[in-house]
Amino acid sequence: MRRLGLPGLRLASALLLLGLWWAAAAMAQDRALPGPLAVLAALRAELAAGALLPALAATLARVAAAFLLAMALGSALGYAMGRNGITDAALDPWVLLLLNIPALVIILLAYIWCGQTEAAAIGAVTLAKLPNVVVVVREGARALDPALDEVATAYRLTPWMRLREVVLPQLGPFLAAAARSGLAILWKIVLVVELLGRPSGVGFEMNMRFQLFDVPGLLAYSLAFAAVMLAIEGFVMQPAERRARAWRGAAA
């Protein structure tokens, strides 16, 4: 095991999962459990038919829009609530309520009240994600160092400089935590939104495959999108978080 190293161990674990899947499919010989090769063939067929990439793009666009909206609104609200007791007391019941309403209910109500529109879909996902961002950023705002706040006041930093130089570096780890946990949940909610009421996207395609009992197609779409999200996590979110924390390791 030691000779493998951690990356080797991860690879071995992934290969074991693949092997188990292959063996289970081979033993079951059932349409409900296709093997990896059948899913790969379905993936290639969807790609060749020109259906996969537009679906991925549509879902990714919804994820991006809802993510940016939830992060922007949630950060602003969380900061205001963490810094101001009156704002916190006024908005806390709303946040608690949203935290405890299932995302599915928010989606259904959004479609009932606003119709099955793009705005309703993105709004519902944003609203489902919003309280989580608020709660995390509020904790960050509560943990801001008042001593550094006094430095900003004594040296008369402008509001923009105060935000950039004093507040955001301290909120950085909280924003990163909210972003990473948020993205992981958010894309799954987007699939449900698409499944229930959008005419495009990975969720819509998965619903179609479900209706046709096309399990290889269903798995092909879900695995393709999971791969995209893993790539975003690995190549965008983690490096951004490392950059935000770089100063902590700056000591010689």
Partner: protein
Amino acid sequence: MPPLELSIRRKLYRRAGAPPVEAVRDLALSFPAGSVTALFGPSGCGKTTALRILMGLDPDFEGEVRHRPARLGVVFQEPRLLPWRSLGDNLRIVARAAGLPAPPVEALLARVGLEGWAGRYPRELSLGMARRAALARALAVEPELLVLDEPFVSLDEATAAQLRALVAAVLAERRVTAVLVTHALEDAAALADRIALLTPRPARLRRLVAVPRGDLAGLRAALAG
């Protein structure tokens, strides 16, 4: 410009479920241009409270501060450098906030004995070095008022002596109006030419003594007399 004036009729600290604590009462001081005033008194008497009011960090008091200068250089008890910024950036940021052009970072750091440290981060510094860096930051704004809040506390004697000598030299060079908070008579004598002797809490002005800087014996005699 008329001198900075501090007038605190009363400063209360209010706590839920407990009677308010009166930290300062009837404290009035003016700070002539170029003077170095030490607020001297026992620990916990309200010196730092008065200083925070003077700096504009605590607006919740009865009284007023008149003619507070625009450019304030502060050395807090804890160095309070921005830990995610290099020392050079710490100096540049406050200078930019003061509307000044890029400060001579290397020269300022060299002046406090930190030559070549502009690219290093605060966590790489000892407490004594961080205090010197905080002094360099205070000088980067070309302060009209320099505020020093117990700058030698928690330092070993040798480091405190070095820093005391450095602050004395800087004050002599710059001829800047300065206010120092200390509970050590040696520090007050070494740096200040006016000593505001405060009572135990609530802080009130017991006496204002003017003595030549560095005259510890004279200060002792003046306070005893």
